[in-house]
Symmetry: C2
Subunit: 327 residues, 2 copies
C-alpha cells in the first residue's frame, strides 16, 4: 500500500513516519511506499523497509492537492497546519493554509473519486471547542471555537464529514489533546509550559510555570498521538457512522498533579527546577481552554491514551532521553 503524510516535517508527522518504518505495515497491509510532504523537505526515517519519496511543497498553492492525490495513495494523513498562534496573528495565512489547503486536498480527492476512495485521516484539535464548558465535555457538545485556528479546524471537520457522506472519500477526523510531553525546545506557544515544566527540569534546566497549580488541562503523549493516527487509518469506517470527527481520549490533570507525577518519577531535585512566575496574559488565555472530556465514542472505537501522567513522563524519558534524565 501507498501512504502519504502531509505535514511530515512536524513533530507528530515525523514520529508517524518513523513508526511506519519500524512496523513496515499499516494494520494488516504491508507498506510499499510512503510519500512525505511538507513545506520544507522532510527528513526520511532511517532503515525503512519501503520506498520513501520526499516532497517539499505548499498544499495551499494551486494544483498541489491534485498532484499529491494523482498517484492515488491508499491512505492520506493530513497533518499540515499553521499553528494556533500564527493563525491568530496572520489572518490571511491561517485561512489560506488551514482552510483553503485542506479544502484543496479534499477537492482533489473528490475529483479522483471515480473508483478511488482513500482513507483520509485529518488531525483536528480540541480548539474546535470554546468556553464556557461543562465539567466534562461530552461528544455531542457544540463547536464554538474562540480562535481562527479552531474555526479552520472545525470547517475542515465539516468538509471531511460531508465529502465522506457523499462517498468522495473515507475520512476520519481526530481531535488531538495537547501533546505532553512535547519534545524539542521551549517555544512561545501559550500551551508550551505544560511540556516545558517536565522536559526542561528532566534535562537539568530551569522551567517557568506561568499559571497556578490548579490549572487543569487535557493531555496525551506523542506516542499516543501516533497510535491515534494509526488506529484512525485502520478503523472500520462502518463502525464510525456518519459522525466522522472524534474527540481523542487523554488524561485530565492539574499542573499540580503534573508536578506530583514528575516528583514520583524523577525526584524532588528535578521538581525544584520549576520556577513559579505567574503571567496574567497566559492565565487569561488558558482559562478559555478545555479541561476535561468524556470521549465515549473514541473509547468505544478502541482509541487509548495514558491513564496516569507518570506514563506521559516515562514515555518522554524512554523515547526522547534514551531512558536517562538529570537527577
Amino acid at each position: 500500500m501507498h501512504v502519504t503524510i502531509i505535514g511530515a516535517g512536524g513533530m507528530v508527522g515525523s514520529k508517524l513516519a518513523t513508526r511506519l518504518a519500524e512496523d513496515g505495515q499499516l494494520g494488516e497491509k504491508a507498506i510499499a511506499k510512503v510519500t512525505l510532504v511538507d513545506v520544507v523537505e522532510p527528513t526520511p526515517p532511517a532503515d525503512a523497509p519501503f520506498e520513501i519519496e520526499t516532497i517539499a511543497t505548499d498544499l495551499s498553492a494551486p494544483g498541489v492537492g491534485a498532484s499529491l492525490v494523482a498517484p492515488r495513495p491508499d491512505v492520506i494523513f493530513h497533518l499540515a497546519a499553521i499553528v494556533s498562534g500564527e493563525a491568530e496573528t496572520d489572518f490571511e495565512k491561517g485561512y489560506r493554509v488551514n482552510l483553503d489547503g485542506t479544502r484543496g486536498l479534499f477537492d482533489a480527492v473528490q475529483a479522483f473519486s471515480n473508483h478511488y476512495v482513500p482513507r483520509v485521516v485529518f488531525t483536528s484539535s480540541i480548539g474546535v471547542f470554546g468556553a464556557p464548558f461543562p465539567e466534562a465535555i461530552p461528544d455531542d457538545f457544540h463547536l464554538t471555537p474562540l480562535t481562527s485556528y479552531g474555526t479552520q479546524k472545525t470547517i475542515g471537520e465539516l468538509l471531511l464529514a460531508d465529502y465522506t457522506r457523499r462517498g468522495f472519500m473515507d475520512g476520519v477526523g481526530i481531535r488531538l489533546p495537547t501533546i505532553s510531553v512535547r519534545p524539542g525546545k521551549p517555544n512561545k506557544a501559550a500551551s508550551g509550559f505544560f511540556s516545558n515544566i517536565i522536559r526542561e527540569p528532566l534535562a537539568g534546566k530551569e522551567a517557568v510555570l506561568p499559571v497556578s497549580e490548579e490549572t487543569r488541562h487535557w493531555h496525551a503523549s506523542p506516542r499516543s498521538a501516533v497510535n491515534f493516527l494509526i488506529h484512525a487509518a485502520t478503523l472500520d469506517g462502518e463502525a464510525i457512522g456518519p459522525r466522522r470527527n472524534l474527540t481523542m481520549p487523554g488524561i485530565s490533570v492539574t499542573v499540580g498533579e503534573q508536578i506530583d507525577a514528575l516528583r514520583k518519577v524523577a525526584g524532588d531535585n528535578v521538581v525544584k527546577r520549576i520556577r513559579h512566575e505567574p503571567d496574567e496574559m497566559i492565565m487569561g488565555i488558558v482559562k478559555g481552554w478545555p479541561q476535561r472530556f468524556d470521549p465515549q465514542r473514541a473509547l468505544a472505537l478502541g482509541f487509548q491514551a495514558e491513564a496516569r501522567f507518570e506514563e506521559n513522563i516515562r514515555i518522554h524519558i524512554e523515547d526522547e532521553l534514551d531512558g536517562n534524565f538529570v537527577a
Copy 2:
C-alpha cells in the same frame, strides 16, 4: 441608514423588503436607502418612504462581494442561498454559492473593516443539525449536518462567529425553522408538504400528504421569520456574546396537530382536501430532520414565534389570502 438585502428576490427576502417599506425604519433609525440584490432583479416593494436600488448579480462571482460592501451599508441581510435539494444534486454549485459566496461577502466586509463594522444578519438553518437527536435539541448540541446545504450553512456560521470575534463585522446568524405556511405553488422540496397540506386546501385544491400524521417538525410563520431578521438586525451585540449563531424559536407540532389546527380554523370540508399517499422516500428523508428544539438563548434574547399552529394558519389567511379561504 442604508440597508442591503442579498437574496431579496426570495420569499423571505421580499417580505422583509415589504416590511421595511411599511416601517420606514429599522429599530429606532430611519432608513434612507435599501439595496435589493438577487441573481434576478428583485421587485421593489410599493410606496417605500426611502430610496430603493435593485441589483441583479451573482454573489459568488469574483468582486461582487466588494462591490456590494463598498457603499458601506449599515446593515447587511445575507439571505442568498442555493436550497437544500439543489445543493445536494449540484455539489459544485452548492459549495460555490453557499460557501464561496458567503465567504466572499464576509471577506469583503473584512477588507473594509478599518472604521467600518456593519451588522451582518445571516440566515442559517436547522439543517446544521443531523440525527440522531435528543427529544428536544438544546442550544449546545453539536453540529453534525447530514446534507451539503447544512454543511455550507454551518461553515457560514463559523466564519460569521470568527469574523465577528476578530472585530471585522458584527454578525448574527439565525437558524430558521421550516417556514409554515409557505406561500406560493407546491414545490418538490421534501419539506413542501408541511405547507402544501394547509395552503392548497384553503385555496380549494387537493393536497398530498406523503408521511404519517405522527411526523413531528419545527415551524415558524413567514411573519415570524421577518420578525427574527429585524430583531437580529437591531439586537445589542454585547447581549449575544461570542456565540453568535442562534436557533430560532418555533412550534413543534405533528402533522396530525397541523391538520387539527386546520380543522379548527377552516372546518372539516377543507381538511377533506388532504389526500394521504405515503411516499417511502420522503418518509425516509424526513425521519432525519429535527422535531423539537429548546431554544433558550433566542427566547432570552427576545425572539418570538407562534405559540399555536392555528396562528400560523391565520397569519397565512391574513397575509396571503386577504382574510378569505375556500370553505
